[in-house]
Amino acid sequence: MIAVPRFRDLPVTVRVPLITAALMIVLAVVASQSVLGALGRVQDARLSETARLHVQGLSVALGPSVLRQDVWEVYDILDRARLASDGQRLLLTVVADERGRVLAATDPRRAPVGHTAAAFETAAVAPEALRMTGDPVLRVTSPLQYQGRTIGAIVTELDVTDLLAERRQVTLWLLAGNALATGLLAFGGWLAVARILRPVGALVQAMDTSGGAPRPIPQAAIPHGDPGLARLIETYNQMTTAVEERAEAERRLADRERFVSLGRLSSSLAHEVNNPLGGLLNAADTIRTYADRPEVVRQSAELMQRGLAHLRDVTRAILDQNRLDRAGQPLRPEDFEDLRLLFEPEAQSRKLALAWEVQAGAAALASQPAAPVRQVTLNLLLNAGAAAAQGGQVGLGVSNGGDRLSIAVSNTGAPMTESDLARLMASGPLPPGGGVGLRLVHDIVAGLGGSLHHDRAEGRTVIRVDLPAAGQTHA
C-alpha cells in the first residue's frame, strides 16, 4: 500500500501549482454554472412563451366551438393546430368542458371523448409558470375563457426532449471545453509557478541533502530577476560558509585539546622530571668521588636506575597520551596507572587527597579502546582537580557491572556551573566562553555509545561515564 502524503507535507513547489490548478477548476465550475443557468433561463422563457402563445391562440379559436360542445370543430381546430406546428413540441392537447370531461384531443385514442381530463391535469402548470424540470414531457394547463366566463380548460403536453438534449450537449461541451482549458491553464500555471519556485526547490534540496553540511547554491542558479529570492539564497550561501568554518574550527579545537590537557600538566610534569634529576646528579657526583668504593658506586647506580626508570615512565605516559597510532589498542589496567602518574604531580601541587580505586579487571577493561577512554578520564580528572579547592578531594572509581564499564570521577569544591554542565551533558550549540574539553568528553562518550551522568550530593560532584561492553560500540 502506497502511503498518500498529506497535502501540507508536500513540498511547496508541488503545493502552490496544485492550489493554482484547484483555483482554476473552481473558476471553471463557477463559469460553467453561470452559463448553464443562463441557458436554462433562456430555455424556460422560450418554452413559456411557446406554451402561452399556443394556449392563447387555441383559446381564441376554440371559444365558440367549446361553448357549443361541437366535438368535431374542436378536434378540427386542434388537429389543424397540430399540423401547423409540424407535431414538434406539442405532443398532445386536450380540451375539456366545464365539467372536466374531454371534449376533444389531438390524440383521441389517448384522451377519448367524454372521459375525465383530470389525469392529464396532474402536474400541469400555467404557461407563465412553466419551467424545465428534467422531465422530457411537460404539461401546461389554462382555463378556457369565452365571453367573460370559463367554459373549459386546455391541457397541453410539450415535448422538451430537444431542449434537454441541447442542455445536455451544452453541458457536455462546456465540461469538455472547460476541462481542456482548465487542464491547459493548470498545466501552464504549474509550469510557471514551478519555474518561479525552482530556486526555492534548489534551496530546499541543498538543505535536505547536505547531511549536516549545508552545500552552497552555485551563482548560476540564483534568480537575479527576483531580488527577494536572490537575497535569500545569497544569505543561505553565506550561512553555509559560516557553518563550514565553524565546524572546521571546532575540529581543530578538539585536536588541540589533547595537547592542551597535557599543557595544563606541564609544570607539574616538569617538577616530576626535575626532582629525580637532582638525585641523579648527586648520584653521578658520588660515583665520581667514590669511584674506588664499589658499595657506594653500586648504591648510587641503583639510585640512578630508579630515577631514570621514573623518568622513563613519565615520558612514556606523555607519549602514550598523544600517540595517534594507539587508537585501536584495548584498554589495560596500566593505562589507569599512566593516568595516575600523569595526574598525581598535579594533585600533589594542589595538595589534593586522591582516592584511586580501579576495581574492574583486565578482561572488562579490554573491551574498551584505550585512547578515547584515557582522554575522557584525564579530561574529567583535570576538571575535577581544578574544581576541588586547595586541600580538597578527587576520586576515581572504575568498576564493571553487567554489560558495562563505569568510570566515576568525583571532587569536592564548588558545583559545576550551568555553562559547564551544558558543555558536558547537552549536544546543543556550544555556549560562548570556556574551553572545549567538557564538550570533547561528551562527544567522545557519545561516539562510544555510552552515557554521562552528573550528580551532586554532600558537597561532592560526581560525573559517571557508562560505557557499553565491546560489540555494542562502533569500535
Binding site: 391562440g57 379559436a61 366535438v71 368535431w72 378536434y75 389543424r80 393546430a81 401547423a84 390524440d107 383521441p108
Partner: protein, 319 residues
C-alpha cells in the same frame, strides 16, 4: 355569405395558412398547370372585356349567375373553384358567382329562396324537395352516374360489419347527406335501431374528408363517407386513407346531382347552365375541371336514377 366568410377567416386565423383540402393533392401535382390556367383566364377576361363589351352588357341581366357548392362534398379548393367558375362562365357567357355553404340545409334553403340560381347538392336533399327541384345533370364517375356509401373504421379495427360497431362513436358528414348519413341511418332503421341509440356518440363533421380524418385520427371508431370522395382521397392522399379500412360498401346509388328550382328551369341562365354543365367534356376548360374532380362528364339524368336513395328514405321513415 357572412357566415361562410367568418368560417373561412376563423380557420385561416387558426392554421395561419390556407387549409388543406380534398383537391390539394391533385392541385399540387400540377402547379404549372394552375399558373398557366390563371394567366389564360385573366387573358380571356381581358380579351372579352376588350372585344365583347357591348354584347356582354346586352346579354347579361347585370347580376352574376349564382352557383352554390357545398364543402360537404367539395372542399373549398381554390384550383377547383377557379376552374369551375372559369369553365361555366366561358360556356354560359356571363359571370359566375360560386357560393359555398357549410351544410346541405343551407344550400337547399338558398336554392329554394332564390338566393342562388343552381346548386351541386346531394341526391337526398334533391329527393327531400323533389317537387320543387329539377335535375340539371349528374356527374359521370368511372363510366356511370353512380357511387356508393362506405362504412369505414380505423385500419387496425377488427370490425367486419355495421353490427360490430355498436357502442362506438360514429362520424357522419351531414344530416342531409345520402352517403354520409342516410345509408347508415336507413341500414340501422331496417334493424329497428337509430344512430343515437346504436352509437355511443355520433358527430357531424360537415365534410366527407373530415369523416375520414375523424376515423383516421381516432376521434370516432367508425364513419359514413362518400365512396367517390374516399376513392379520390385514396389516390391523392393515400397516407390518410391508409389509416382507414372500408368495412362495408352500399349498393350503387345516384351520384350527387346539379339541380335548380323547377319553376325556373325555363330561365335563360338556368338552361345555359344546364347546357354548360352537360358540355363540360366538350371544351378544354371543362375537361380541366372534370380532370381536377376525377369525373368523366356531366350527363342528363332522370329522377329514377335516385330510386335507390328514395327506397332508403322510405326505410328511414318507416323505421
Amino acid at each position: 355569405m357572412t357566415s361562410w366568410t367568418a368560417f373561412e377567416l376563423r380557420f385561416d386565423g387558426i392554421s395561419g395558412k390556407g387549409q388543406s383540402c380534398l383537391w390539394q393533392g391533385g392541385w399540387r401535382a400540377q402547379p404549372r398547370g394552375h399558373g398557366e390556367q390563371v394567366q389564360t383566364r385573366r387573358s380571356a377576361i381581358l380579351t372579352g372585356a376588350a372585344f365583347c363589351a357591348a354584347p356582354m352588357v346586352a346579354a347579361q341581366t347585370g347580376a352574376p349567375f349564382r352557383f352554390a357548392l357545398t364543402p360537404v362534398f367539395l372542399d373549398n379548393d381554390a384550383a377547383v373553384i377557379f376552374a369551375l367558375r372559369q369553365a361555366l362562365g366561358e360556356a354560359m357567357g356571363r359571370e359566375i358567382e360560386l357560393v359555398q355553404r357549410r351544410t346541405y340545409q343551407e344550400i337547399t334553403g338558398a336554392l329554394l329562396d332564390g338566393s342562388v340560381d343552381a346548386a351541386w347538392t346531394c341526391g337526398y336533399p334533391y329527393l327531400q324537395h323533389r317537387e320543387k327541384l329539377s335535375l340539371l345533370g349528374v356527374p359521370v364517375w368511372r363510366g356511370a352516374p353512380l357511387y356508393r356509401s362506405y362504412l369505414i373504421v380505423a385500419a387496425d379495427d377488427k370490425a367486419s360489419n355495421l353490427a360490430d360497431l355498436q357502442g362506438g362513436a360514429h362520424a357522419f358528414s351531414d344530416p342531409d347527406s345520402n352517403s354520409g348519413y342516410l345509408v347508415t341511418a336507413s341500414d340501422l332503421a331496417r334493424t329497428g335501431a337509430t344512430p343515437e341509440g346504436f352509437f355511443s356518440r355520433s358527430i357531424f363533421t360537415y365534410g366527407h374528408r373530415n369523416v375520414v380524418r375523424a376515423v383516421a385520427g381516432g376521434l370516432t371508431r367508425s364513419g359514413s363517407v362518400d365512396g367517390y370522395v374516399w376513392e379520390v382521397l385514396d389516390s391523392v392522399e393515400p397516407e390518410l386513407t391508409a389509416q382507414t379500412r372500408v368495412v362495408a360498401r352500399s349498393e350503387e346509388l345516384g351520384f350527387p346531382p346539379f339541380v335548380a328550382r323547377s319553376d325556373r328551369m325555363a330561365e335563360d341562365g338556368v338552361t345555359a347552365c344546364m347546357a354548360a354543365l352537360q358540355g363540360l367534356d366538350q371544351v378544354d376548360k371543362g375537361r380541366e375541371v372534370l380532370r381536377l374532380l376525377f369525373l368523366d362528364a356531366v350527363a342528363a339524368a332522370e329522377p329514377a336514377l335516385f330510386d335507390g336513395i328514395a327506397a332508403r328514405m322510405a326505410a328511414l321513415a318507416g323505421g
